[in-house]
Amino acid sequence: MIIFSLLMGSGFIFYQLLTPPTKKAVAPTNMVNKEKRKFRINGVQSNA
């Protein structure tokens, strides 16, 4: 079980080394547009 745990730990490092660093979440374009519409409906100037 110790060997298995060590391998899983090494596997995690391997995964981290190969995969790209996590990027900050970015709102999809359709969500941004939806928010813009909501602002316009409420009569508020949008800076988005």
Binding site: L7, M8, S10, F14, Y15, L17, P20, P21
Partner: protein, 453 residues
């Protein structure tokens, strides 16, 4: 399978076939596959009656499982390569170095170590050497500054087949003969081999510390640089954008889980080769479903010749045993092998290191395993001698390029990519780090035995 005295001409014939086979495997005239001389030698020895049919059947049973395991592992490597996993690795390792040449040096060693642990040593060399070549091109360093990264890659990738025993076909074949399994092997070998690898890494760093550039260009800047468009990694950037990240992550997780299951599932009656086959089929299936890529390319690219090569090589070595060469060597080593665990360990490790550098580590380990089983050692000494031989085969064999097929492969890949390294240049570096690492690993192994036995 027993030894029977042979006519002198048959002994000379066997030695000639063995020498010629080994020479052709290492030299590879006209670039022939190493399996061709190996199987040709085996056929000639079988025809001459030096290796009878019952030995042939025994050898086939012995090498087929480990060969299938290694072939399946390389198939997994091929699948991952085809979906772009390793092309991304080059870019990512440079990014993670954050502009530090020293951090890049350690990252490359970590990558090579993990590649061997999760795949195998030859696959690791074949995959990581082009990655390192891309990296040293991308950071645009001077030719002499490339050497630390290239040497660190090959030395760590080869020695990393020591800790868990499943990363090298030579290690796998002998396990069953000396009554070890992967778990008992790892219990004995893991800690000392990690001490050996840490020593090797440190020695490489100390040796190359003045050549390693302190600062390297930031990868983001390099790729946005318009003059960088024709760089080999410009293709990587494109593949990164179109990468299926879910598939990418699933495949890496699967590879890690398959490796882990080698140490758990055999206790429930599953054999290692079947776990490896299942893993390879799973990866092929996932790729087929996700990317609609049929498995035909894997059938073509899979190194089926490994089974033929290992079988042929083992028959050739077995012929030496049948001529009585192991009995002769046995009479020379008998005293030192039975004296104490430490003397058995050092004698085996140093003997295989010397033999490997003369005739490659695969036949050396095969011959050594036959030798120690014939001496009639008790189980504990037999297993200690075997692991010491593997230390000699995975570390001591690195002293010259002849020692392992992986090193020869590495030199070939470098030459093909316009970075030729001469045998003397290789030897100068190896001489500074390998003998010390070998001795430290053997001492660590004996201290570990003293602690746990």
């Amino acid at each position: 399978m027993g030894f029977s005295p042979m006519h002198d001409s048959l002994i000379v014939y066997t030695f000639a076939i063995f020498a010629l086979t080994t020479l052709c495997i290492l030299w590879r005239p006209q670039g022939i596959n190493e399996a061709i001389p190996a199987i040709s030698g085996a056929i000639l020895l079988f025809i001459a009656g030096i290796v009878p049919l019952q030995d042939i059947v025994y050898i086939f049973k012995l090498v087929s499982g480990p060969s299938i395991t290694i072939i399946s592992t390389i198939v997994m490597c091929i699948v991952l390569e085809s979906i772009g996993v390793f092309r991304w690795a080059a870019l990512n390792v440079v990014k993670r170095a954050k502009g530090s040449g020293i951090r890049l040096f350690w990252s490359i060693m970590l990558l090579c170590f993990l590649m061997t642990v999760f795949f195998n040593n030859d696959g690791s060399i074949l995959i990581t050497t082009p990655i390192i070549l891309h990296i040293v091109q991308i950071i645009r360093i001077k030719p002499h500054q490339k050497l630390p990264y290239l040497f660190a890659g090959v030395f760590i990738a080869t020695s990393a087949s020591l800790p868990i025993g499943v990363s090298n076909i030579a290690n796998l074949i002998g396990l069953q003969i000396v009554g070890l399994n992967l778990v008992s092997y790892t219990n004995l070998a893991f800690v000392p081999s990690m001490i050996g690898i840490a020593t090797l890494s440190l020695l490489l760093y100390l040796l190359f510390r003045n050549e390693i550039p302190r600062k390297i260009p930031n990868i983001q800047d390099s790729i946005s640089d318009p003059t960088f468009k024709n760089h080999p990694l410009s293709g990587v950037q494109k593949s990164v954008e179109s990468m299926n990240w879910t598939l990418f992550r699933t495949c890496i997780v699967l590879v890690v889980l398959i490796r882990g299951s080698y140490f758990v599932l055999p206790a429930y009656g599953f054999s290692i080769e079947w776990i490896a086959i299942t893993g390879a089929l799973l990866l092929i299936g996932i790729r087929w479903v996700s990317l609609k890529i049929s498995p035909i390319d894997v059938l073509w690219k899979a190194p089926w010749h490994i089974l033929v090569f290992a079988f042929g090589m083992y028959v050739t070595v077995y012929a030496l045993k049948n001529t009585g060469v192991t009995s002769y060597m046995m009479s020379l080593l008998d005293g030192v092998m039975t004296q104490s665990l430490m003397s058995a360990s050092f004698a085996s490790g140093i003997l295989i290191s010397v033999l490997s550098n003369l005739m490659n580590n695969l036949p050396s380990v095969m011959l050594g395993t036959l030798l120690i089983t014939e001496i009639g050692l008790d189980t504990q000494t037999l297993q200690v001698a075997y692991i010491s031989m593997i230390i000699g085969s995975d570390i001591g064999a690195l002293l010259t390029p002849l020692g392992t097929l992986a090193t020869l492969l590495w030199m070939f890949v470098l030459k093909k990519n316009g970075v030729p390294i001469t045998w003397s240049a290789y030897f100068k570096v190896a001489l500074m780090v390998i003998p010390i690492t070998l001795v430290v690993t053997l001492i660590a192994f004996n201290l570990w035995l003293w602690l746990i036995l």
